[in-house]
Amino acid sequence: MTSGTADLREALPADGRREAPDYPIDGAAPQIAQQPRTREELAGLLASATEAGLAVVPQGSRSALDLGRPIDRYDVALDMRGLDGIVDYEPADMTVQVGAGMTLRALRAHLAEHGQYLPADPPPGDDVTIGGLLATARPGAWRGHMPAARDLVIGMEVALPDGSLVRSGGRVVKNVSGYDLHRLHTGALGTLGVIVEASFKLVPLPPATRSFAVRRPSVRDAARLAIELRDAALPGRALSVLAPEAAVRLGLPDDAHVLLELAGYESALDAATTRIRDVTERSGGGLGDAPSGAWDALRALTGATDGVVLRLGVPATRIAATIEAARGLRGTAWGHVAAGSVVIHAPAIDVTSVRVLRRNVEAEGGFLVVESGPPALRAVVDPLGASTRDLVGALKRQFDPTGTLSPGRWEVGL
């Protein structure tokens, strides 16, 4: 331990101290692990670490630490789970202000008592923290059907590396005062500041949900049907295309499938079910109930940390071709029609294949991001699109000029 880290360790409250070896990232443990209980304690830690020139990595449930490049330095693990309270909840306003360390599961339980929820289904499951949900902005199957967390965040408090606590937005559902810095921090992986608290606009829980799986002879056929179902404008919450390999993982037969979820009043779901039956029967049948737990299994698979997970942004009309390309690489793949995304999980994919995939999707205006994978792969696949690298660099220099927060996430030294 260097003198800088030893001094910092001494300065931090002993009751917030955690075991550093419990916080490895890419096999390396930090020198210090700390779980602040208050925002002031957190801000103080950042200011001291910055002054000592130490690198801090904020983390919640530790489920998405593979996002971005392997970091350059790692001195302090900042465990956010101590800031886990509901600060303010007004059910009649349908807004909530919550500490970044609270889990989505705990928040959902609280909101459900009032018939409300935050409609986010990020990978790998509900154990993600609210701060992690926003900082990673990883979409789930509901994306495109429901507003995402980044659409529903109405205010935020962020701790900057210099120890200042700054707010943007507010607690009202519609607000254009000042810059929406709370949007900037979504997807930023905690590299521009540490999310301390967030406020959300909420939505009512649907009175009922119903899930179906439709068996199809090919991925192409499944994708065609999925688009037809999308165009029927039914009260859906998810509409996905599964390659046979993915279907098997969810307990379905070894064939391509469409998996969909309806949400709404029972009466509307009955009507929608009739329409779905009409559409599927017209094009060959195969409608059945989805296996229980299918959506949770798909979320867990998306959040897998073994092997490689890629997320690609592609037009809905290219989902089938992208899934087929993934199968050629021995990947398990599935796509979400409304969001225009394909997720590929594979035991291993070589760098060249990733680059080819990326070139192909970028040629159509899409993108590819490595959500999980070995450091060697993540070190050479640029986590950002080329067009925004300069701007992200400029932001980093403004918000974290000393490179305190997860240095190297975006590129070496950044």
Binding site: A92, R150, D151, G178, D270, G340, P383, S387, F399
Partner: protein, 481 residues
């Protein structure tokens, strides 16, 4: 002399026809829908991203500001070139570049009129959801600049929730895409933070938007109440009861008495307030939602509830809402539109406070607003020829904003900060908050070159925007909210 060189260079780059510089031509570009004025050195009408970039580079070499402009319907002075410079008017760039129904996106140039995009989508069974009341004239680029809302924001969200990507020209004259053609592009959300940045970070040159399907059925209802308080109670009861209608708009007695004689849309003249409510979806869902809405209105003491039976009736009900502000213009020499937000549950008390303040100052105040979002639009009517009236109206406006802030709300829900509300920013944000917003501006490299003296309360060479030295701006007749 510099000015002549500047204009010559702009004309060389963009063509003579696309540069205005004579004083009589510049007058129309001195203001937007507020009354604050300032004369630009030149107005350019780029036809492409390359033209915009060229104009920015030329302005840079002459060290003059750049101010982007759409249709000029802004209600916060955002397009007023307070330090002169080059106004970049986007009205020539009005092509719908791509309408991709299969993938539910459209790529448009910033000068495309909001309603024109709607019309283009409709044959495909699609729509672009944000529908500000000025949609017949406002541009998509301007909507991005202000993160425009509209009556249907309640369920569908504001502009930022429908913009997938923007091509922007940055302060150094380079063009780049923020976001893309699908949501959730990796990295910090540059697209999200750009929306609503009021032309201070860059100039939008193309926009990729998400389109959504037209609903199977829409039901529009008019609920009539004896008081604003009763109507507000109904709003809270509907939403906390688990129904989020796509629109919940309120008109108070004052505005009903202005709108009805002019537009004959069927609002009862003796009503204390009316709510315009809309639900949509599958017929079964519409029926279930409507049943709950009716029950909540009944419980709050609605004296009558009408349902639009045809598309014409529906249009009629909306016409009264969307044309409401124009009607005020016809019945008062001047009026000042305010835009504040409060938590929905605070509406009844805040509305009472607003009306009490207007009474105290001796002005008529008409309220027509997005009740579901808690987004108020008090319209204060006055005659600027009455001595001291303008100052008193501005003072009243400030007091009403204070009420919103003290109720836990905000100083603007959809019109923006612009020039008008810079001085109020310190009521909502502390020094460190404002400093972090300044960092964003610096990172984008715009400094104070792009749309100076807007959004943030400080700026080199700007009249102070600190609260103590407050100045306000008046809405011109015919403006929209």
């Amino acid at each position: 002399m510099t000015n002549e060189v500047l204009i010559r260079e702009l004309r060389d780059a963009l063509g003579d026809a696309h540069v205005l510089h004579l004083p009589e031509d510049l007058i129309a570009y001195e203001y937007d829908a507020t009354i604050e004025r300032a004369r630009p050195d030149a107005v350019v009408f780029p036809g492409s991203t390359a033209d915009v970039a060229a104009a920015v580079r030329i302005a840079n070499t002459h060290d003059v500001p750049v101010v982007p402009r759409g249709s000029g319907t802004g209600l916060a002075g955002g397009a007023v070139p307070v330090q002169g410079g080059v106004v970049v008017a986007m009205t020539r760039m009005r092509r719908i570049v791509e309408l991709n129904a299969a993938n539910r996106i459209a790529v448009v140039e910033p000068g495309v009129i909001n309603l024109d995009l709607q019309a283009a989508c409709e044959p495909h069974g699609l729509r672009y959801a944000p529908d500000p009341s000025s949609q017949r004239i406002c541009t998509i680029g301007g909507n991005v600049g202000t993160n425009a809302g509209g009556p249907h924001t309640l369920a569908h969200g504001s502009t930022v929730n429908h913009v997938l990507g923007v091509e922007v020209v940055l302060a150094d004259g380079t063009a780049t895409w923020l976001g893309g053609r699908q949501p959730d592009v990796p990295g910090p959300d540059l697209r999200g933070v750009f929306c609503g940045s009021e032309g201070t970070l860059g100039i939008v040159t193309q926009i990729c938007v998400a389109l959504t399907p037209l609903p199977h059925e829409v039901r529009t209802m008019l609920a009539i109440f004896d008081s604003v308080e009763a109507a507000s109670e109904a709003v809270s009861a509907i939403i906390s009861g688990g129904v989020v209608p796509v629109a919940v708009e309120m008109l108070d007695q004052e505005i009903i008495r202005i709108v009805e004689p002019q537009m004959h849309v069927g609002y009862p003249l003796d009503a204390g307030a009316v709510l315009l409510l809309e639900v949509e979806g599958l017929p079964e869902a519409v029926a279930a939602d409507a049943e709950r809405v009716v029950a909540a209105c009944d419980a709050a003491g609605a004296r009558e509830l009408r349902v639009a039976e045809s598309a014409e009736e529906r249009e009629g009900l909306w016409e009264g809402r969307k044309g409401g502000i124009g009607a005020i213009g016809a019945s008062s020499p001047n009026f000042y539109i305010l835009d504040g937000v409060v938590p929905r549950t605070r509406l009844p008390e805040v509305m009472s406070q607003v009306n009490a303040l207007a009474d105290e100052y001796g002005f008529r105040c008409a309220n027509i607003f997005h009740a579901g979002d808690g987004n108020l639009h008090p319209n204060i009517m006055f005659n600027e020829l009455d001595e001291g009236a303008t100052e008193r109206v501005l003072e009243l406006g400030g007091e009403i904003m204070r009420v919103c802030v003290e109720a836990g709300g905000s100083i603007t829900g959809e019109h923006g900060i612009g020039l008008e509300k810079r001085s109020y920013m310190e009521w909502v944000f502390g020094e460190a908050d404002l400093d972090s917003m300044e960092r964003l501006r610096l990172a984008f490299g715009a400094g104070e070159r792009f749309n100076p003296c807007k959004v943030l309360p400080t700026g080199h060479g700007c009249a102070s925007g600190h609260a103590a030295e407050l100045r306000g701006h008046l809405a011109a007749p015919g403006v929209y909210i």
